[in-house]
């Protein structure tokens, strides 16, 4: 019994608390999270997808808000090509009430999100991925039944002005995968809002 408990504990640690998160090439763990439409969604539900644009996102962060329209556009462009966008809110709703499940539903309706918007209610998924901020992009490539991390980072190089973007990091990375090539760069950074946890 003790051994089982210890193993369980180790499992929890390696799954979350002490993990440094994914690197390019790692297999991303599937999840089962509540969508704004009331259904639970897993990556495995996307049977026909070639991959998934997983973006840790939320309602309140100005950097996310600046990117919402671009996220909608990315989904509309790339879902038909096999790369749907899935947004996951990792924030605790007590630490940040504007990111509650109810507020997520409101925001999804306001913006008419064409993509799934899921809640990481137990806050177990984001640490496993190694997400530290919103927005934080993980581009996943499907390999059989598994999803492999192909690109981590930013959507593009200008949060303020979509018209002034010089490098479309994420779109370029998806285009590379569609062409059978590796994304370059495969890792970028951007300013974002810290993920909110209860103290």
């Amino acid at each position: 019994m003790k051994k089982v408990f210890l193993l369980l504990l180790m499992g929890i640690y390696s799954a979350g608390l002490f993990a440094q998160g994914y690197e390019i090439g790692d297999i991303a763990t599937d999840f089962r999270l509540l969508n704004v439409d009331g259904n639970y969604v897993s990556m495995s539900d996307y049977e026909d997808a070639k991959g998934i644009i997983l973006i840790f996102s939320c309602n309140h962060c100005p950097y996310v808000v600046a990117y919402e329209d671009r996220m909608i556009e990315l989904h509309n462009t790339y879902a038909p090509k096999g790369f749907p966008l899935v947004a996951v809110n990792p924030n605790d709703s007590i630490a940040e009430p504007r990111d509650s499940y109810t507020k997520m539903i409101e925001r999804a309706e306001e913006k008419n999100f064409p993509f799934d918007y899921l809640l990481d209610a137990d806050q177990l998924i984001y640490p496993e991925y190694g997400a530290t901020r919103t927005p934080h992009v993980y581009l996943l490539e499907k390999e059989g039944e598994q999803f492999r991390v192909a690109y981590i980072g930013a959507i593009d190089d200008n949060y303020r002005d979509a018209g002034a973007v010089e490098e479309h990091f994420l779109a370029n990375a998806i285009d590379a995968l569609l062409a059978g090539e590796r994304p370059d760069p495969e890792f970028t950074r951007a300013i974002g809002c810290t993920i909110k946890v209860q103290e």
Binding site: R133, D157, Y159, E166, E167, G192, C193, K196
Partner: protein, 169 residues
Amino acid sequence: MRLYTAIFLFAVFFLLNDSDASGLTVLPDGKDIEVMDFDTFAPRLEMDNDSVYVINFWATWCAPCVRELPAFEELNETYGGQKVKVILVSLDNPDLIDDRVIPFVERMDLQSELILLDDPNSNRWIPLVSEEWSGAIPATVIYSSSHRSFHEREFEFEELEELVSPLIQ
């Protein structure tokens, strides 16, 4: 007389609104917020003198940043006379400097040096601040001639003091 009043008001208007991309926004009490791109800001990360530099990246919309600002202000007030330089670098949208940043700075009565970093391509400059930085804020660089550390976290005053006071020459 009326003309003088008009000129005076005009001048005040200009002072309060002088906030284009690479300018200086002067607050009524004489403090200022310097707006600059990363290359202009970069030398502040590499000052070669006997001061301890505490450079905090924040934004008015970032709740944990706002929560910890008083700790940096207290550090500035307590150790400012002992060659500790606190620089608060706002990552707010420069378009909101008049409507949001300045009113915030005045409300909080911030006394530390203020900079607004106007450089949207953060993928380029985040690793130049620190390779350890994922991009989340608050984030703080502490350095002196003998030490450099980076912290992607929120601080209490006592924690800052513990890091900074041993570095004071």
